[in-house]
Amino acid sequence: MRTYKLDSTYVLNYATAATINEDKGELRGKLDTVFDDIYCDEKNYELAEQKLMKTSIENVLKKSNLRLNDLELIVSGDLMNQLMTTYYGLRHISIPVIGIYSACSSSALGLIIGSNYAVNGKKVLVTTSSHYAAAERQFRYPNEYGLQKKEVVTTTTSGAGSIILTSKKHPIQIEAYTLGVIQDFNYKDVNDMGGAMSIAAYDTITTHFKDTNRSFKDYDYVVTGDLGSLGLSVLKALFKENGYTDSLDNLVDLGTMIYKGCPECYMGGSGCACSMLMLCGKYLPMIENGKINSLLYVPTGALHNPIAVFQKQSIPSIAHAIVFRKAV
């Protein structure tokens, strides 16, 4: 049994920060701060990502009329080595910071850990960020390198999202979560993260359905984080091959939406920020406004390491699931 129920965890507020590239697809006009370029008025990419994270935190505190010291702690995740964005970005504050790494499923893992601390009136801030150029540089190649990308790649999102959790009743409730198990089917194509992660999404979603006795029709939407168009079609094929006859129309992928209409973005968006930006920018407002009642949020993470890849190891992946519901 990998699913845990939460009695009283609510989303107090949420906010985002991103660059002009994220303000084009489905999030157009829905981001709290939009920077003109990926430098975000900073000297280098790594500082830019820290700026994005700090800006999203400032935005959510302002929206909630809270100060940093009103928070119990911050749970933060990013893609950088040694969680550089988290620890360098948040080093001058006087509340505890729990840094986590779960690749692009960090937002879900952060919400899971945060939920367990947001009890007895305590408020916990969960934030994740990613940056296109910083991630390219660390995981792939220099940004000006003349690389002809393969069609199956996804494009790392530059942005950050922050959510404050509380045990006091608010319109959006986190009802339950399902913990993921590390998956690995010996897949070695580093260009195709979506394909590599599809199995993690399949495993966590089916486990969640088994633990809760639910299926696709019990949710308005089941969203994966950044499988991209290829990864999503592989996931749907996995369900069909394993005998699911339910309609899969409400199974959608956030990565395909964030850069909708952008041909240079290949299979879609990815990175810790992708799922967080789409969640805060599109889906949480939909629950708050009553447009939808329930959401199963399943961001996936590819847990590979560049050195392991050069050592011809395969790509492990993981997915954690969170149930958001309109509070009754």
Binding site: K43, N44, R137, Y141, P142, N143, E144, Y145, G146, L147, Q148, K149, E151, V152, F185, Y187, D192, G195, S198, I199, L230, S233, V234, A237, L238, E241, N242, E264
Partner: protein, 143 residues
């Protein structure tokens, strides 16, 4: 029941034929540009045709580095693929982009250490292969 590897192979997009066409166009264009530069050098200096190769290569490398710095080269490379990474332009770009990217880490551990990060393997395998071929040929020619 199909296994996931089969599903992925079925759904993966196949490589486009246009990639090959653009690679040809890219390579041909670089060649024409290089030849034009060589002809200009022969016409306006007193270098012979064979002597003009070296300055032409230097000019092409300088141009590649400039385009890399301006942020234009990577956009061209997305279109032309091997048309740009097979000629010397690919070598120069790999060095220039690595150096440019690491500039914030300083002169020694940034630019200095990273210039050969991607181009190093071309040099290493060129030298190692030349050594082996050289030894074989030397022995053969002196038997």
């Amino acid at each position: 029941m199909k296994d996931i590897n089969t599903i992925i192979q079925e759904k993966k997009p196949k490589p486009k034929l246009s990639n090959l066409i653009f690679a040809f166009i890219g390579g041909a264009t670089v060649s024409v540009l290089g030849q034009f530069i060589m002809d200009m050098i022969v016409r306006y200096t007193d270098l012979s045709k064979s002597e003009a190769v070296t300055p032409m290569i230097i000019i092409i490398i300088a141009l590649t580095c400039l385009l890399t710095g301006l942020g234009v080269y990577d956009k061209l490379a997305t279109i032309f693929g091997a048309g740009l990474f097979i000629p010397i332009t690919g070598f120069a770009n790999s060095m220039c982009s690595s150096a440019l990217e690491s500039k914030h880490e300083g002169l020694v551990y940034g630019i200095g250490s990273n210039i050969f990060k991607l181009a190093g393997s071309v040099l290493v395998y060129g030298v190692v292969a030349t050594y082996l071929v050289g030894v074989v040929r030397f022995i053969y020619e002196n038997l």
